[in-house]
Symmetry: C2
Subunit: 237 residues, 2 copies
């Protein structure tokens, strides 16, 4: 069983040959544990390794003038967090853990070799970065077109769908280390208003979150309220 098992689960569009998988495994240069709320990369600095998330939650974010964060992505097990840093060579945002994480690091030199020798694997890695772009688009939609309740609901629908793809949600409950200010940073709202919207979702018997545990009471209802359609995640049934 490979550490890339979850990667294949949530990103496999073209199945990978055993040979390709072995090459991917071989490109891993180190595996390590990182505590919660720990910075992994800073905007604008050039990078030569990319991070693959084996376990935990990682966010990518940008700061405004006053230093208030806007999350632009939340990653779960099986995500290649900053693979886009390989072609881009530097990042345009910061990366940090939310909860405690286990990560694998891949050197860009190793990726150069994959791009040279493994066109199928290259296309899968490319695909993987484009999935993140598709999620970015959905975040734009969420912020631009949904009202406060739907924004929060939509955000949790996405997290749930991503976790389910790697077996970490059964559609009813899952663990999630985000606190209310984090959710606010993701949804472009204040923590106070997040609190009110969570209350509304609870009272409408759609979902709740307490102490890192999310319970979904009515997934179809939540998705309906939030105009959530998981097709942008390209998850294969």
């Amino acid at each position: 069983m490979s550490i890339f098992n979850d990667f294949l689960l949530n990103r496999r569009r073209d199945d990978l040959s055993a040979d390709d998988l072995m090459a991917l495994e071989a490109s891993v240069h180190s595996v390590k544990d990182v505590p919660a709320r720990h910075s992994l990369a800073i905007s604008k600095q050039s990078i030569t390794v990319s991070t693959y998330l084996i376990e935990g939650f990682i966010c990518r974010y940008m700061d405004d003038r006053e230093g208030i964060r806007q999350l632009v992505a939340v990653h779960v097990a099986g995500d290649f967090v900053d693979l886009h840093g390989y072609p881009l060579k530097r990042l345009d945002h910061d990366v940090a853990t939310l909860g405690p994480c286990k990560i694998a690091q891949v050197r860009h030199e190793a990726l150069d070799q994959l791009v040279r020798d493994k066109p199928n694997l290259t296309k899968l890695l490319w695909f993987s970065t484009l999935l993140d772009a598709a999620m970015h688009r959905e975040w734009i939609f969420r912020l631009g077109r949904l009202d406060a309740v739907a924004r929060v609901g939509h955000f949790f629908c996405e997290i749930e769908a991503k976790l389910r793809a790697v077996g970490l949600s059964d559609g009813r409950m899952f663990s999630c280390p985000l606190i209310q200010p984090d959710i606010g940073e993701a949804c472009g709202m204040t923590a106070v208003h997040i609190n009110r919207m969570l209350k509304e979702l609870r009272e409408r018997k759609l979902m709740q979150i307490q102490r890192g545990h999310v319970t979904i009471f009515d997934l179809p209802g939540l998705r309906q309220l939030s105009e959530f359609d998981p097709c942008y995640l390209f998850i294969r049934e």
Copy 2:
């Protein structure tokens, strides 16, 4: 002079060999003119060609439940509009022209061959799609953290910077076929409020737009107001 001249101007991070450029040229299957406000691709349908924009303005957008658009990208000359549709195989959004356009179409089969034979070109194409992802992230930031005036200002700063990279803006004026409802669809606001914010930008002597012509009175001032930093566009000086 190649039709990919603008592509190289705004996307060149690694310069392309003459050989690679020729291969890219050869992959073009047709060039055509498309009128303004014309649909080019519909969400969820599988696609086998990608569109490169030679001239004009194209937008990508998603509809909410009531059919109100949220633009997720605006493309100008030199952009590979839906190259991400190549690895993804289908789109998660619609594509349409804003003004009249000239486009080139590239068959995905031709791209398969490039990926197989041209690792450098492949990496440049990959890079190009990641530049769009970086812009998506900036749009998330814009919608999540900026107030109405800054959102509109930031949007025009981006358009200006993109146009300048391909020689279509001198930093003071440029053409842009977007009308106020379009800007609203991009910034997650109503057309009425866009109108008020444009008035404010005019009164503050920062910029104006009239009948398809944008005039920037004070670019540093506009960028300052909008918290705009062009580094995410990865434009080489």
